[in-house]
């Protein structure tokens, strides 16, 4: 029964090949557009997520504030108002994962005949956790290195390439300014940051070593920055509030006075970038879905024409014993076959299009099985939904009227 019905649907579609193919084209374009847009959108989202993951997630940065002396205001970090003990206190707050004090700077590094100017980050091991920055060979320095201000360093990929060339840096000794340092480990490559800076052109050393032996700070306990990571994204607003209160209290800032520090939410920018990509890909998907809808209406249109054209045939079939549901099924099957076949071709074209975009522009695309399944499901639904009305109309024809139809 079903096979016979399928055969008949095939024959009816084959009788008017051009029309069938044009009808199918609506579905092909609709599904192809949805698949293409979704893979580009998902690719963009993935790229943003990677950037965020590279930066580290749920991060705040506290910067030492400006001071004003006789009307001359220093810039941010002009006065080192933040201290290592501030960082320790913040680390105790609920919702805070780690708080890493940072003393950044730039210095010339030398190894054998090579030298290179790079950024030096003096910090604690917590910094690596906050930035989710793994050490890929050798090992990280520890809290005891920080306490005893040992001359050890972790080296980023770009700095390592420029200083050591093809040599394995682990265990080698190089100089920062005049002090010899031993490379404990190399850091995983992170690539560009949100601002386009090469994050791998860097050397990380213990905070105390940076302050005492490289940059020679006046106040040993003071730092320019503290990087704070919260346990979850949801905890960020609460932590922001409690952290501000804590610091105002610790710095004895009276009611109504400005903070002597700046608080930056590093993730917010990235989150908004992700959000805008998500909205964009949704929008693209929505626009593409409209073409799917138009394709469905095209199917309904042609099926209605087909029912009218074949009124007499329907009458004959009814006269020889077709039930209403036989007629309904016959026309519904045709609509479903057209939409599913169109969907399949559209799927292939969409994937091909996404791969072409990827090959030509290098844009990241993600072809997920779920979007294929969704497109297929939508196509079948569209076929049933838009095929049902014409099929129902056919099934409800009066046999005598249908037989007399010329």
């Amino acid at each position: 029964m079903m096979f016979a019905m399928l055969g008949e649907a095939w024959r009816a579609m084959g009788a008017n090949r051009l029309r069938t193919m044009l009808t199918m084209l609506g579905m092909v374009i609709g599904v192809g557009a949805v698949v293409l847009m979704m893979s580009i959108g998902q690719g963009a989202q993935y790229a943003i997520k990677q950037t965020i993951a590279a930066m580290g997630s749920n991060l705040f940065v506290l910067l030492s504030g400006s001071t004003s002396t006789g009307g001359v205001r220093s810039g941010g970090g002009g006065n080192l108002t933040l201290t290592v003990s501030d960082a320790d206190a913040i680390a105790e707050l609920p919702g805070v994962q780690v708080a890493a004090p940072i003393h950044p700077g730039n210095a010339q590094i030398v190894y054998g005949p090579n030298n290179w100017n790079t950024s030096i980050i003096g910090t604690t091991p917590d910094y690596l956790e906050a930035r989710s920055w793994p050490v890929i060979s050798g090992s990280a320095f520890t809290d005891s290195d920080v306490r005893s201000a040992t001359r050890v360093a972790l080296i980023g990929r770009t700095a390592a390439e420029n200083l050591f060339g093809n040599e394995d840096p682990v265990g080698k000794t190089f100089r920062i300014r005049q002090s010899p340092f031993t490379v404990l480990g190399t850091l995983a490559a992170k690539g560009q940051g949100m601002d386009g800076r090469d994050q791998d052109d860097t050397i990380i050393i213990p905070l105390t070593t940076a302050q005492r032996q490289v940059f020679g700070s006046q106040f040993q306990g003071s730092v320019r920055m503290i990087m704070v990571q919260t346990t979850t994204q949801e905890a960020m607003p609460a932590v922001e509030k409690s952290m501000t209160e804590l610091l105002r209290q610790r710095h004895r800032i009276r009611e109504g006075m400005d903070n002597d520090f700046f608080l930056r939410n590093l993730t917010a920018a990235a989150d908004s970038a992700e959000e805008s990509t998500r909205v964009m890909s949704l929008l693209l998907g929505a626009i593409a879905s409209v073409s799917l809808l138009v394709g469905g209406i095209g199917i309904m249109n042609i099926m209605l024409v087909s029912v009218t054209e074949r009124t007499r045939e329907i009458g004959i079939r009814m006269a020889i014993g077709a039930r209403e549901r036989d007629i309904l099924l016959q026309f519904l099957l045709e609509a479903i076959i057209i939409s599913v076949a169109g969907c399949f071709i559209g799927l292939l074209l969409g994937i091909g299009g996404a791969l072409t975009v990827n090959a030509l522009t290098g844009t990241m695309v993600i072809i997920s099985g779920s979007s294929a399944v969704v497109a297929f499901g939508v196509a079948a639904t569209v076929g049933i939904f838009f095929g049902f009305y014409p099929a129902h109309k056919a099934a409800q024809l009066d046999p005598i009227e249908a037989l007399r139809y010329q």
Binding site: A4, E8, A319, I320, G321, E324, R325, D326, L403
Partner: protein
């Protein structure tokens, strides 16, 4: 609306009314209901059919009562607009009466649902139309086998049975031909084969020779005679007296009523 369309069509179909029918014999008491046999395939009592038209209700059939027994060969005759086609549609379960009772093969048609009516058309009734009504995109074999699709018979059996019937109507080598490649007489043979595929008890033919020349008409009528001798009940609508001659009983309609009912071949009364 429907009736209006219908009556216009019927008038166009017959430009000059035949004088023979205007002097139709009056129904005689003796010939009325000659076929009241227990084994009736068709039992009709007080059948009325009204059509709604813009001018009001139009009665197409008025109080028609008729019994047809198994094995009969009945010709329904009458001028255009006499109600004979309406009567055939009711017989074929394509339409429902406005009033009255129709029992087909022991089943009261009024009480049947749409699906059960479709089943009757599929199993109990075979239709032969004036315009043949074959499906143009199907081969002759597929056309003949078509009714079997609606009763869940396997593809192999469908083909076997269709092939056997094509042989029976004398179209053995034509299984793969398309309907538009054969003559009208051959198309009507295919239509008859299709009507017979589900071994119906009743064969309904509406002007089956209306589109055929006289020689082909004779061949088709000979085919009907043969089928009748095998025991199939045949009801035939025609307005040609020489076609009606083949039937064993002639029922005349006029103005929505049965005006005569005669047995023309005595041996027909089984």
């Amino acid at each position: 609306m429907a009736a209006e369309q219908y009556s216009v069509q019927a008038e166009l179909g017959e430009a000059s009314p035949k004088p023979a029918e205007s002097i139709a014999p009056r129904p005689s008491a003796s010939s009325w209901r000659t076929a009241t046999i227990s084994d009736a395939v068709i039992r009709i009592e007080g059948l009325h059919k009204l059509y709604e038209t813009s001018a009001g209700l139009f009665p197409a059939l008025k109080d028609v009562s008729l019994n047809i027994a198994a094995g009969e060969f009945v010709a329904i005759m009458g001028p255009s607009g006499s109600g004979k086609s309406t009567f055939m549609n009711l017989l074929g379960c394509l339409d429902k009466p406005s009033a009255g009772r129709y029992v087909l093969d022991g089943r009261d048609v009024e009480k049947l649902g749409k699906d059960e009516l479709a089943l009757l058309r599929n199993r109990t009734i075979g239709f032969v139309f004036q315009g043949f009504n074959l499906l143009p995109r199907m081969s002759l074999l597929e056309n003949v086998a078509l009714p079997l699709i609606y009763c869940g018979i396997t593809s192999d059996e469908r083909q076997q049975r269709a092939q056997a019937l094509l042989s029976k109507v004398g179209l053995d080598g034509y299984a793969a031909s398309m309907p538009n490649k054969i003559s009208g007489g051959q198309q009507q043979r295919v239509a008859i084969a299709r009507a017979l595929i589900n071994r119906p008890r009743l064969l309904l033919a509406d002007e089956p020779t209306g589109n055929l020349d006289s020689q082909t008409s004779k061949e088709i009528m000979a085919l009907f005679e043969g089928l009748n001798s095998e025991g199939i009940t045949i009801v035939l609508v025609t307005h040609e007296p020489d076609i009606a001659q083949y039937a064993k009983r002639q029922v005349r309609f006029f103005d929505g009523r049965v005006v005569s009912d005669q047995i023309t071949h005595q041996e027909a009364a089984v």
